[in-house]
Each structure stands twice: as structure tokens, then as C-alpha cells.
């Protein structure tokens, strides 16, 4: 593994909210084509990490590099053009618009600087809709979809921007078992067919252990463990952090 494979790297990232240190000196690396999990108990700082990586919040300390460029303090728009697209934990879609228009917005963002014909663009949109199993719903208004379909739509919007790193904040919440299995299958395709990297925040431990190449465990804003799913499962620190919590590993 050479440095050229590193797509994202965060160094000593911290975020201070008044008295609370939500993220405290985190180092994180994500390689091209890698599926990385970011787990931790409620309030560990996972969503805050997403905000730091995607430019929605400026870090209190630390530096961020994406695809070789220093993105510390860059706007979300800029970071997205650099290849990082994220979803939000709640309501990561456009409620009054149809599924197709939702995905169109993703595609418009991704192609902002590219000269792409209408036909090619439409193909990309249809591809995103089909990939996430939304073909039967393309003309439905997003706010009328089931919760599970709304989650799939969030991912389709992000995918349509064709990022090199897609960051998903609890994308499997509210999906039934079949939908979870199908979505994990899609993640494998994002990696193999599209060469995308994925950063996955998820409370569904079975899914995380199943899909991730590598996992970071966040607790009180600090990385307490990192490694392969097996290494993480057997870590004492992780067991202690999760002990007494409802999420069994």
C-alpha cells in the first residue's frame, strides 16, 4: 500500500462545542476502493466527524487532505468537487421533489464542471435510480415514500454526483432485512464496479462487520481502536466502550 492509494487523510482533527470536545485529535485515512466503518456509541462524535470531513463544520484543530489537496477549511461545495460526497443522518433528500429530480440534483452537482450531453446525463440518473432499486418510484414525490425508500434515495442522490468517496451516515436505519442485504450488495458494486471508497457510520453491527475492510471505533470523540472487523470485535477497549449498551457485537 503506497501513499498514492490514500484518498482522504485527516490529521489531528478536533471539534470543540463550547465546553464539549465532540471530536478530539482524530487521525483517519481512507484508501481508494476501501470500505471503512466508523462506529461508536450514541454521541461518540460520528456525525460531527462527517461534518468536519465534508466541510460543513470547520475543525477547531487539524488538517484535511483529499485526493492530494489540502481541504482544511474548504467549503462543502469545494470538498464535494474534490470527490467527497456525504449524506445526512436525517432527512437527506428533497421532500417536495420527485425521486428523479432528487437524483438529478445529485447529478447536476457532480457534473458542474463537466461537459456532458443531456443523453449521457439522463443515463447516469437512470443508472443511479436503478442501482438503488427505485425504478418503480421514479416519479413519486420523496416525502410520500416509505422511510426505507427515503434512505435509499439519499444514497442515490449522493451516488449520482459520482464521488470517489461516499460518506453515509446511518444509511441502513429503517431498512428491512431484505433491503439491508440488497444495499450491502450495492456497496460491493460501488467498490468493485465504480472504484468508489465508502465511509460508513452505522449502528447495525452485523452489517458493518460484514461489509467493512477496516473499522475505526470512536468513543467520546477519540479513536479507541482501529483495525479489521475481527480485530475490532476482539478489542477489550471496544468491548468496554460498548458494555452495557444495547448494540451487541
Amino acid at each position: 500500500m503506497t501513499d498514492g492509494d490514500i484518498l482522504l487523510s485527516g490529521r489531528n482533527l478536533s471539534k470543540q462545542f463550547k465546553g464539549l470536545r465532540a471530536v478530539a485529535g482524530v487521525d483517519i485515512d481512507i484508501r481508494r476502493g476501501e470500505i471503512v466503518g466508523l462506529i461508536g456509541p450514541n454521541g461518540a462524535g460520528k456525525s460531527t466527524m462527517f461534518n468536519l470531513l465534508s466541510g460543513f463544520l470547520p475543525p477547531t484543530t487539524g488538517q484535511l487532505f483529499i485526493a492530494g489537496a489540502n481541504m482544511t477549511g474548504a467549503t462543502p461545495e469545494r470538498i464535494s468537487q474534490q470527490g467527497l460526497v456525504r449524506t445526512f443522518q436525517h432527512g437527506s433528500y428533497l421532500p417536495s421533489m420527485t425521486v428523479r429530480d432528487n437524483v438529478l440534483i445529485g447529478s447536476l452537482g457532480g457534473m458542474r464542471n463537466a461537459r456532458v450531453s443531456r443523453a449521457e446525463q439522463n443515463k447516469g440518473i437512470d443508472e443511479a435510480i436503478a442501482l438503488f432499486g427505485l425504478s418503480n418510484h421514479w416519479n413519486n414525490v420523496a416525502k410520500n415514500l416509505s422511510h426505507g425508500l427515503q434512505r435509499l434515495l439519499s444514497m442515490a442522490i449522493a451516488f449520482a454526483a459520482r464521488p470517489s468517496l461516499i460518506c453515509l451516515d446511518e444509511p441502513l436505519t429503517g431498512l428491512n432485512q431484505t433491503e439491508v442485504t440488497g444495499t450491502l450488495q450495492v456497496y460491493r458494486r460501488l467498490k468493485t464496479d465504480y472504484g468508489m471508497s465508502i465511509l460508513l457510520v452505522e449502528h447495525n453491527m452485523r452489517a458493518v462487520m460484514n461489509i467493512c475492510d477496516r473499522i475505526y471505533v470512536l468513543h467520546h470523540g477519540e479513536i479507541i481502536c482501529t483495525g479489521t472487523p475481527d480485530e475490532v470485535k476482539n478489542s477489550d477497549a471496544v468491548l468496554k466502550a460498548y458494555l452495557g449498551e444495547a448494540h451487541g457485537i
Partner: protein, 306 residues
């Protein structure tokens, strides 16, 4: 209502109004121009609502267009079309600066800044001798070659402007506007420039308002600071609410109804503002989606019966 039907609806109303100009005599002709300009104002207000902002500065840009026209006519001998273009252009430039500063804030803050800007400009006009002070500017006539056709010209141009706004709304750019209203973080997260797009939306709407102001100045021949206070934005909002903001037809229908009502009230010597207030209360209570929404509802009822 399908997109196609909205275009037809707008063209149909425009044709009806043109027929009014042709066969209705001078009173109707004046009324039609008033309706057409009011419809543009309401459509401009609705356009900025696409990004989720209530633009109370629309009256200010209407005034900028009107005063620019009045000043040019009184001080320079420029061709009519150039005067019109410069008036829209001034509104464009000012709106880019104003929007570039103020669109960082949202909701009630943006609304209040728009209100303050409108009132500040109105007071500025009263203090400026070059702009006629309190009494305003007079003698703003369309050129002789256009004079006989000015009502047609204004009506047609107003509806072209409204159709232009509708065309943009239906384009990809318009979809980004609506997406920003829905959830601007999602729009931003995939790489669209949210702030820039908001300024573009605001600038287009303001330019259109400036052009409407210029047309108004030529139609009215006289302008004064009182014509361009914040009440004008309230009127535009009334047209929009009564007509229905969901459909591009709404502002046109609302303007047609309320301008007729106001004209009738004036002819009785009454205070048309009270009627505006009444119309807003009634429409909010009995047709929350406005006239356009009501038409839609009736049509659906008929279909479900058939």
C-alpha cells in the same frame, strides 16, 4: 395541473387581456396594463419564493427601474428600448450587490432587510432633488411611434417576462432553486453552489421587477416616492396568496382579480387597501391554495365524478 396546461393558461389569459385592450376602450386598456404589471410583480415575488425566501425588496427594484426610466427620460434623449434595458440593467447590478450581501441570511431576517431597503430607497428619493424629491418625476411618456400601441406592447412584454420566468423555473436551474428551498444542505453536499444560485435567482427576479417598474413609469407618466414603499411588496404578496403560489398561473389570476377589485373600490371612492386585506383573509380561510388551487380542485372533482 400539467406543465403544458400552465403555459396555455398564461397565454390564454394574455390573449384575453389583449382582447380587452383592443375592444374595451381606454378604461379597460389602462386596467389591463395595471393587471399585466401587477402580474409580473407577483411572478417576480413567486420566483424568489422558489428558493424559499420572501423578497420584500421587490418593491425597491420596481422603484429602481421606474426612477431610472424617469431620470433618463428627463435628462437624456435615449432610445426607448435602451431606456428600458438600462432600467432593467440597473436593477440587475443593484440586486447582485444587494443579494450578494443579504442572501447570507434567511427567512425573517432576509425579509426584514428587504423591507428596510425598500423604505430606505423611498426616503432617498424624497431627499434627492435630481429625482424630484417628494413630488417625484413627471413627463415620462413612451415615444410617439409607440404611444398608440403602448398598452399592447406592455401587456405582451409582461407576459413574455412571465413566460421567461416559467421557462427558467422548469429548467435545471429552476430545479436547483426548488431543491434549495427543500433542503439546501443536500444541494450543497453534492457540489452545487447554493449561495451563488440564490444570488442568480434573486438577480433574475429583481431585473424583471426593474423592467416592470420601467413599464409602469411609461404607463403612468408620473412617479413619486410613495408609489414604491413596502406596501407595493405587500400588494404583490396579496396577488400571490389570493391567486395561489403553487402554480405559475396563481400570480396572474390573483393580480387580475385584485386589480379589478381595487379599481372598483377606487371608483366608489373607497379605500382599496381594506378590500385587499379582506381578499387575503377570505382566500386564506376558504382557498388556502388560491384561485389556481381552487380551479385545480374543481377540475379534479369533475374528473372524479365523471
Amino acid at each position: 395541473m400539467t406543465e403544458y396546461k400552465e403555459w396555455i393558461g398564461i397565454v390564454a389569459i394574455a390573449c384575453a387581456l389583449l382582447a380587452g385592450v383592443a375592444f374595451g376602450g381606454s378604461y379597460i386598456g389602462t386596467l389591463v396594463v395595471w393587471i399585466a404589471i401587477a402580474a409580473v410583480m407577483a411572478s417576480s415575488l413567486r420566483f424568489v419564493l422558489l428558493i424559499g425566501e420572501l423578497n420584500f425588496a421587490s418593491a425597491a427594484f420596481f422603484g429602481i427601474g421606474a426612477y431610472c426610466t424617469g431620470y433618463i427620460v428627463n435628462h437624456a434623449d435615449l432610445p426607448f428600448v435602451l431606456t428600458l434595458a438600462l432600467s432593467g440593467g440597473l436593477a440587475l447590478v443593484v440586486s447582485i450587490v444587494f443579494g450578494g450581501i443579504t442572501l447570507k441570511v434567511k427567512g425573517p431576517y432576509f425579509l426584514l432587510i428587504g423591507f428596510a431597503f425598500t423604505e430606505a430607497l423611498r426616503i432617498f428619493y424624497t431627499r434627492m432633488e435630481a429625482l424630484g424629491g417628494n413630488s417625484g418625476l413627471v413627463g415620462i411618456f413612451p415615444p410617439a411611434w409607440l404611444d398608440a400601441h403602448y398598452q399592447y406592447f406592455t401587456t405582451v412584454l409582461c407576459f413574455l417576462l412571465i413566460l421567461g420566468l416559467l421557462g427558467i423555473e422548469r429548467s435545471h436551474l429552476g430545479k436547483i432553486f426548488i431543491a434549495i428551498r427543500d433542503n439546501e444542505n443536500v444541494v450543497r453536499s453534492v457540489g452545487n453552489r447554493v449561495f451563488f444560485t440564490k444570488v442568480v435567482c434573486f438577480a433574475i427576479a429583481s431585473t424583471v421587477a426593474g423592467l416592470a417598474g420601467s413599464l409602469h413609469a411609461f404607463a403612468n407618466n408620473v412617479i413619486s416616492p410613495l408609489d414604491f414603499g413596502f406596501m407595493l411588496s405587500i400588494f404583490a404578496l396579496a396577488y400571490l396568496k389570493v391567486g395561489g403560489e403553487d402554480s405559475p398561473l396563481g400570480p396572474v389570476m390573483g393580480a387580475a382579480l385584485l386589480v379589478c377589485v381595487a379599481s372598483y373600490a377606487q371608483s366608489l371612492g373607497g379605500n382599496e387597501h381594506i378590500l385587499y386585506g379582506l381578499a387575503i383573509v377570505l382566500s386564506v380561510l376558504f382557498m388556502p391554495k388560491g384561485l389556481a388551487g381552487l380551479a385545480d380542485l374543481l377540475r379534479r372533482k369533475k374528473e372524479s365524478v365523471a
